[in-house]
């Protein structure tokens, strides 16, 4: 009948089936046991340890004090300009860094 596979093509199909079964006998790979833990570690937000927080707080205090001391003779206009430029740049860098950290 038209449209039905011929006996010969069915025979070829069966032989190809057997050949594929013989050719693809390698052991199926498996996921490593630590997979779940690795994924969950990556998606959890990273929180600083108390020591890390103390180091950053100390750095901020020292940086602000040093900046104020260094800029003591600078005109107010320049300080405003520096803050206006520096703040958006720092915010953009922070957002970019976070995106990199989560792998997006």
């Amino acid at each position: 009948m038209h449209g039905l596979p011929s006996e010969g093509s069915m025979h070829d199909d069966e032989m190809m089936d057997a050949l594929l079964r013989n050719a693809m006998t390698a052991d199926a790979p498996r996921l490593s046991p630590g997979f779940d833990a690795r994924v969950l570690r990556r998606v959890r937000p990273r929180r600083l340890t108390p020591i890390g927080r103390a180091v950053i707080a100390a750095y901020v205090v020292v940086a602000v004090a040093a900046t104020l001391w260094l800029m003591r003779d600078v005109q107010t206009t320049w300080i405003v300009a520096a803050v206006a430029i520096g703040t958006p740049v720092a915010a953009a860098a922070s957002i970019y860094g976070r995106r990199l950290a989560v792998g997006r």
């Binding site: 070829d12 199909d13 190809m16 089936d17 050949l19 050719a23 693809m24 779940d36 998606v43 959890r44």
Partner: protein, 200 residues
Amino acid sequence: MPPSAPADAASYANRADEWLVERCRESADDAAFAELVRRYRGPVFRLAVSILGQEFAPDAEDVAQDVMLRVHHALASFRGEAKFSSWVYRITFNQALNVKARVRYRAPHVSDQALAALPTQDRDPYDRLHNDRRQQAVLALIEDLPEVYQSALRLHYWLGESMSDIAVLLDVPENTVKSYLHRARRLLHARLAERGFDAR
């Protein structure tokens, strides 16, 4: 309103995907996402392996990990128009194809000496070499088939998946999977013949 938390984490195993997705979206529930990872890691890995092939199976675990991270980040934008599983498998398919495009040029070369040393049941050295070469030719020819045919072949013959499971992974009806396999075998048969091998 977000769904309320179950009494214990073990009861997450009985929840539907949609409920877990809603918990992740509304409450950033780590346990709900962990259950989704536990549920989908195997199928996602097998689908990735079926696309990448035997030589690049180690890369499939990286694909599976990237897929889980992408799913986590994109859950907020998942609107539930498609089934969650279909959405995950589509991400997997695309991610595996991207990785395959990058890694395919580092395919290992298999020498005739290595082929001749493969263990086999045939006693005649000529038959043994002929069979090994034919099997190697089949594996090489599979690489030239359309991606969905390759994936269906590997899922069926190598990973032993059922037709219904392959249909779910490729997001097509079961009859389409049978058609993929049939057409793939016909193409392979014709291309083997062009290279002077028969299927017997």
